[in-house]
Symmetry: C2
Subunit: 343 residues, 2 copies
């Protein structure tokens, strides 16, 4: 695969010695995240035993918790020394988890990236209802925090996420989806919560509007880049070589940017292939390989990564108004990592 | 059927001439509800066309809107002359509608009391996601209202509703459910939102805590009575005579108070009947009639109505601290109506 992520961001002293990683950011928010994790555990309790059981399956069982980490990192970047970010980071994770639970019902998926999904284990009913509980609990936590501005940011984000999911449902299995429509979906369903999470860091620190805006932009563009790279990884031969499952999106008929671009650039015969496999979901042996050949011919995976780099660059630049420092460096490196994990 | 609702509440001058009705309350809140309905229509809009379509199926298509009416009536009772109750009544209806949408997914029901349900028409996915949207929209409206106390009341109610639904899921098809557990379920999943709706009337009017408490109690107990009467109506021979469908709860294996009492009072042979029909859902022709015979033998329908009257009496008494007047009379009559509709 072509190395797209080359000299521009490479450290001059050790271009290949050290790949960008999430470790610096993780280390900086480590103490905060210990408190966030405790807060999450404390607040997913309920006298109704199934709730902590099921929520624990998703929450406790080692998600990456990127979104709450964003809240903590942004708060640190803004010099915040209070503790409101702890409860609000938990909120953000609850909203994310509720979304995952409802997604699995929507996708009717028995597996969430290789692991048995909550709805396969406990049924759709429990997934819907525990999702509703976590969502309500998130609003209780926000209300306990007590700032209307935070409530507005997160209730707006929640409505946008739901709109994005409905939009995705309506464009599902449509390989002729436009790039704009696809971006609208991932901005809404993935990036909006990253944006809200980062923005909240500035809000709790009571920073000026332009810093809020900058962190909102950081989260939004990082979120878009993150999703686009995920889309690429699902078709990556390198991932397959590492023993990871690939082709989940294809098998589920999910139209992601690599498919959108392949359709746009494709021959009539290739479009018929996408119609059969994605639109009508009539798949047979060898179809995934064929899909990857077509994508390679039109370089849609590398070009999707180019798009991801574009959004990553915007995310990096949005932090330009903050003074240099350890947290800022780690947040910039996180952008590089999000994109670099495709290599 | 025995007339349980006799002399105590009858008007001396025309005991049988006029049954209690909801008409007086409906007339008093008529102008308010026109504004609420407009608010609902305005705020269920979205650029994603499926959202107003599906929400409109449930919202616009003539629900009774009891909960928003409670907000308006309670606000009037408290002498409120502002307009915050309009947006908050819409919130309450959105939360209720989101719950209905998710309920239909949970119940896997193709019909909602005789009408094709949203999930049968648009699929489970759309029901889950549009429910999430309406729920988020409710929190946006509350945030726009801007009072944290209201946010607390409604986010608490939402969490309690979700807990109640999960609890119901865990006690589903269990005819040996205790009366206490059953009451916990209906308090949570039905009555909590009635309670919150009434309470909000006092909150917007900035009335003392004891009036809030009184209206919370009114809504809670009215809600419990309402649900218990619904449970009875589902097995009512009078309803069947009127051409209404009965036995939905039984066919779905829903354990309601008439079944709970029948199990408690039943013979071993009868319990085996409930195990087969409700617990294992193995039903055959004549089972509904048999269920109704057993209930009649143990008078569980009339005794469930007695329980409903008990909660109705508490609801009536909770209004005792308010001075007499047109709105109070109409709210008292609404309690009588809720119970009387069983006759």
């Amino acid at each position: 695969m072509v190395k797209l992520h080359g000299d521009k961001n490479a450290k001059p002293e050790a271009a290949d010695a050290r790949k960008p990683s999430f470790d610096n950011l993780a280390r900086l928010v480590d103490a905060d995240m210990a408190r966030v994790n405790q807060h999450i555990l404390d607040h997913m309790q309920s006298p109704v035993a199934l709730i902590p059981q099921l929520a624990g399956h998703l929450i406790a069982a080692g998600g990456k918790r990127l979104r709450p980490m964003m809240v903590c990192a942004a708060a640190q970047l803004c010099g915040y020394t209070g503790s409101r970010h702890v409860g609000l980071a938990a909120c953000v994770e609850f909203i994310h988890t509720a979304t995952l639970l409802h997604d699995d019902v929507v996708d009717e998926s028995d597996l969430r990236r290789g692991q048995e999904s909550a709805n396969a284990l406990w049924g759709n009913q429990a997934s819907v209802l525990v999702g509703d509980f976590l969502f309500s609990r998130a609003f209780q936590l926000m209300t306990a925090d007590g700032q209307l501005k935070v409530l507005k940011i997160l209730s707006d984000a929640s409505a946008v996420i739901a709109e994005g999911e409905v939009l995705q449902l309506m464009t599902a299995n449509a390989p002729d989806t436009s790039e704009e429509d696809y971006l609208r979906v991932i901005r809404s369903k993935t990036a909006a919560l990253f944006a809200a999470a980062s923005q909240i860091g500035a809000v709790v620190a009571d920073r000026p509007h332009k810093e809020e805006e900058a962190l909102h932009s950081y989260g939004m563009n990082l979120g878009v880049a993150f999703q686009l790279v995920d889309d690429v990884l699902d078709y990556s031969a390198d991932q397959a070589a590492l023993g990871k499952t690939i082709g989940d999106d294809f098998r589920e008929g999910k139209v992601t940017l690599p498919v959108v671009l392949a359709w746009r650039r494709g021959t009539e015969e290739e479009r018929e292939f996408w119609r059969r496999t994605v639109e009508r979901s009539e798949q047979e042996g060898g179809d995934l390989e064929r899909a990857m050949e077509i994508m390679a011919r039109h370089t849609t995976l590398t070009d999707t990564l180019e798009r991801a780099r574009h959004y990553g660059a915007i995310a990096r630049d949005s932090l330009g108004i903050f003074p240099d420092g350890e947290v800022k460096s780690a947040m910039l490196e996180a952008v590089d990592f999000v994109i670099d994990r495709a290599y």
